[in-house]
Amino acid sequence: MLAPDMVDLSPGARAAFVAIWLLGQSALVLTAGRRADAAFGFRMFSESTTMTITLSREVRAPTGEGTVLVPVEDGRWVARDRDGLPHRFAWNDRVLDPVVGTLGLTMHAAYGGAAQLERLQAALDDVATHVPEDADTHALVADVVLQKNGREPQNLRLTSAPRTLPSGR
């Protein structure tokens, strides 16, 4: 830790500190709109938005042609690895966040819908890269019902970055 006298500033240093602090805070506040979560910008209660997330997996179609979406029930699924052995996976093994970690229930989108959509996209990408034993899932897909400020609900679909699977899967 610092010695107490290290936080005593000379008048010149005080002026510089004040200027830097005010410029920094002003910049953070004025640029908050450029960040989906408006972090460090003190935009309290910026919206009243709810979101409901339904998770699916994109897997190879049984016909062998293209892919189909398979619903993920209760955030859990079973998939086979390269050797054909089954493994259990769960969304909440990785995602503990109370909003994007909650599937099938309508949640208040804290810090706004854009913030939660951005976080959900990041969560999809994160989970998709942390299930190496899943050799079945081409991508994770989230269908989102977003209702902002009491308006008509919007239906949106987010897809994780495509996964590289063993050939033939």
């Binding site: 936080v7 972090a39 003190f42 910026s46 976080r119 400020n149």
Partner: protein, 366 residues
């Protein structure tokens, strides 16, 4: 410009800084405990989905994270007791911002605000009062207040940012944001005992629109009103009730308590500039003196036994204001409420009632 730069050399009594420091220490400890509980319940955040603003390589390992949490708790304790408080505040504020930057999922306005105020208070002489190592004679301690002025500016920045963003948002101005919240959470309010008719009134579009405009006006008024001597006390009173209302109706962490705590920084930085005289021969006078001593956390009053004279004979207590004028009865009570944090929420109605009283303001200089 000269006047603006003058605040860099501004000096004042440090008693209130000690009070705010103790409060921040408690909140910092609370924050540290919450993080420690999350660590115990869910494990190290880096083992799960997290999303840093910083490069991933800058995110602390599990052992470093545990060490930071332990140091934060230690720093909070040091801040509270006033030993090495300023370096501890510096560390607490800096490390909170660092951890927020390590995972945006953990970003919360109240944590960032706490970090800002802790960091700024580190540059003030806040350890000169209410410190475990002080000799208890800290009433006369004087020190530079420039960092406190900056913390006060930070309060205004928060209100300007919050009120300004709402003002420029059509949904907010029109009341759509508030209306949707009032509609969605109306059932919860009824379940907590709020009458259905009251809830229905607030769920009306016109009411929500008016409330939205009132909220924006309140936040923008507070950003300015806290600085003007003529409006400061009214702004503090409105602000306290504004935050208490938010605390009751919303989940904002400890933001309301934090803001009410830093409101103390707007108190005039002097000590015991008013005198509370009481009649020691009367139980009500002695009881009032004990109450004022117990509630006077900001050190506003000298509490003295009164040798009854013509004026005091008719009263159990007499308050001598900073300007030398005297107040008794309801006016004295309003004066005490104005100066004591726990009674301050009642100052408005007391002052209003006192303004209708004919007596009570002796207006004689002591």
């Amino acid at each position: 410009m000269k006047k603006a730069m003058g605040f860099l050399r501004d000096q004042g009594a440090t008693h209130v800084l000690g009070v705010v420091r103790v409060g921040l220490g408690v909140l910092l400890f609370w924050e540290g405990l919450e993080d420690a509980q999350e660590l115990m319940a869910h494990g190290y955040f880096g083992d799960h989905f997290h999303w840093p603003y910083l490069p991933e390589a800058w995110v602390p390992s599990r052992s470093v994270y545990v060490a930071i949490l332990a140091l934060q708790l230690l720093a909070a304790a040091l801040v509270t007791v006033g030993h090495l408080a300023r370096p501890a505040l510096f560390f607490a504020g800096s490390s909170l911002v660092y951890l927020l930057a390590c995972d945006r999922l953990h970003y919360h306005h109240h944590v960032y605000a706490l970090a800002c105020y802790a960091f700024l208070l580190a540059f003030s002489p806040c350890e000169r009062s209410l410190a475990i190592t002080s000799d208890g004679q800290d009433d006369g301690a004087i020190g530079p207040l420039w960092a406190i002025r900056l913390a006060q500016l930070q309060v205004s920045i928060v209100y300007l940012a919050s009120g300004g963003s709402k003002l420029f948002d059509a949904d907010w101005r029109d009341g759509l944001v508030l209306l949707d919240r009032l509609v969605r959470y109306g059932d919860q309010a009824v379940a907590k005992g709020v009458p259905q008719r009251v809830v229905a009134f607030f769920q009306h579009a016109g009411t929500a629109s008016a409330l939205a405009k009132l909220t924006i006006a309140t936040e923008l008024f507070l950003a300015v009103g806290l600085w003007l001597p003529r409006t400061r006390v009214a702004a503090l009173f409105i602000g306290v009730w504004f935050h208490l209302a938010i605390e009751v109706t919303s989940k904002v962490g400890y933001f309301s308590w934090l803001t009410i705590l830093v409101y103390a920084l707007f108190a005039t930085h002097d000590v015991r500039a008013r005198t509370f005289f009481f009649d020691p021969s009367h139980p009500r006078g002695a009881l009032s003196a004990r109450a004022v001593r117990a509630l006077d956390w900001l050190g506003r009053f000298q509490v003295k036994a009164w040798e009854p004279d013509e004026l005091a004979r008719a009263h159990h207590v007499v308050v001598v204001r900073r300007d030398g004028t005297r107040a008794t009865g309801l006016r004295a009570l309003a004066m005490v409420a104005r100066c004591t944090p726990l009674l301050f929420p009642f100052w408005g109605p007391l002052a209003l009632a006192a303004s209708f009283t004919k007596g009570g303001d002796a207006s004689a200089h002591s």
